[in-house]
Amino acid sequence: MAQIVSLLRHPRLGRLGRQSQDWSQQELAEFYRVEAALVQAGIRIESERGLTDEGDPWLVFCRAEDGETFIHFARIDGEYLIAGPAYEGVSKGWDFPSLVRDLISRHPTVQPTTRRPSNLFMHPAALLIAVVGTAFFKTSEAKAMDDSDHKADAKRQGGTALLVTTSNAPVSSVHTVGSATTVVMDANQTLNLIATAMALQTQQGVQVAARAAFAPSDLGEGLTPSLLRDVGGTKFDSSASVIPGTNVDAEQNGALVAPAAHVATAAPAELGAWLALTAVLQDLPLAVGTPSIESALASMASLLDTAPEPQRMRAALQYAEVQAMAAQHEATAAAPAAPVPTLAVELSPAALPDVAAVRLMREVDGSLTHQTVVQLEKLPDLLAQIIARGGQLSGVDGEGPSHGVLSPTLEPPLVNEHAITMPASGPVETPAGHDAPASDLPPLHFEQPAGREAIIENAIAYFVANTPNIEIISVQNQVVFYDARVMARPEAFAHNIDSVTYNFSDGSSVSLIGVTQIIHDAQGLH
């Protein structure tokens, strides 16, 4: 099985009687493990090493894109050294693990913030991954500022506005639209996940990292999305190929416990698990020592399982009798079958409120089953503004044919000349703060052959089918489907955004926000 060995340990070699020598095999293995983990996470780096004319070893990590070095490791006269622009100077120490810990302690942005005391820890191997990953991200930002050809970076910058600048509300919890899904990760995947999350938090803050995790698709060629896309794809795909065997073993010999484990096959659910982990990582403290992989995974499971609601996630340490999942990182591909500790995280739709809007969302389309829904405490300002200016249909959850009446809203919409109010069988409802005045326009009536909910369901399905990247936010009883580009590049879509909101009699609502033509076409189905 793949094993993460302890961090670099090298006999201290003093200046007197120094005996310069190359990196040990264990040291090289550790460096290459860092490189492999980051490459697997979608970070395009490469390494190069050499010896000085006195025989002292050095190793640098470089950006594969342009070959620029962003961190330099060396051992000079037996003393370890870490240097790079991200860490503002040179750090030296005779003991490498201590040097890494000291570096992190002097650069607190590398480690996640701790909001509550805990005896949980980070595996030291993850710390080195985080140190290198953070150096990469920090120098990427510096490079982006210098780079005159910064289209991709601008795209990333656009993507970083998002929830952080439009809302102070943190991500409350993560769910799936449909059935519960369990995602299983091995130790390498978990550590990669942690390192990636830490690096993203350092780069963009936990909220943006979380947001990018559940909606990576539109952020294009930028750094974050490719990283996350690979996190959601490559690594978890390998997980999926392994876990079915786990279930079989559990059923056959009863020795392995895999409660309610079924393999996640949909990328959104996998990304949702990523998001869930990211959301609680801000509480993950740093610790010293060399804990085992199992204890690290158990701690992560405990962290998820005991987190305060609504961040609490069902998570457990499991054992899978599989071939080494991380054999791709090892020189020896064929490892004997052995119980491998894994972390199983369950995503559930349970905590979403039982309101008409949520029920309708679940009925829209089977393809949404594993779509993640992120609960926020407050709707991002940008989305709230678009919704306020867009069309409103009220009392849409009655039975029988519906009638549409065009009438203006209190506030003129940006794109729509008129908002839409659909009267129910009872009194016409209007959204709070939008008591529509009597219209001067001639009402436009139309008959619909199907029930109103079915009509709205069709409109949502049309919107989903014709919008490349859908994200779903839930705020209390409000469900918002929106085109990810609206939040990622608001300036590019400022004049081509529209919305329609369906208000239900139980106080819940579904809003669609997207390209004007798509919104209009969806409403054309009414």
């Binding site: 190069e48 050499g50 010896l51 000085t52 004319d53 006195e54 002292d56 070893p57 050095w58 640098v60 470089c62 594969a64 894109e65 342009d66 070959g67 620029e68 070095t69 962003f70 330099h72 060396a74 000079i76 050294l81 240097a83 622009p85 100077g89 040179v90 120098t139 510096a142 490079k143 210098d146 780079d147 005159s148 050809d149």
Partner: protein
């Protein structure tokens, strides 16, 4: 961090850097300096950086060009012209092409 987009492939840039590293090594040896001695003369924080540069990874910070030229016993303008060929081929072509 000195960003230096050259609109060339990473492999082309790397080939130039390696060539430049070999040139630097030759100049250092011609000056009779060890890597540690050169590092001290140019104010490098760690002498393994010299080895790194000679391997073709990274580049000399422009604000150190004069120090390097002096340490290697090369006139500054001549030194800059030489390293520019490896580090900034576009600028080099504009200034010294034809």
């Amino acid at each position: 961090m000195y960003g230096n987009p050259q609109k060339r492939s990473a492999a082309e840039v790397q080939d130039l850097r390696r060539e430049g590293g070999q040139w630097l090594k030759a100049q250092r040896e011609k000056a009779g300096l060890s890597q540690r001695q050169l590092a001290a003369k140019v104010g490098a924080d760690y002498y393994t950086f010299i080895s790194q540069l000679e391997t073709g990874r990274g580049r000399i910070p422009p604000d150190r060009y004069r120090d390097w030229a002096e340490a290697l016993g090369i006139p500054s303008n001549e030194f800059v012209r030489s390293v520019l060929r490896f580090y900034d081929p576009i600028t080099f072509d504009i200034l010294f092409g034809d």
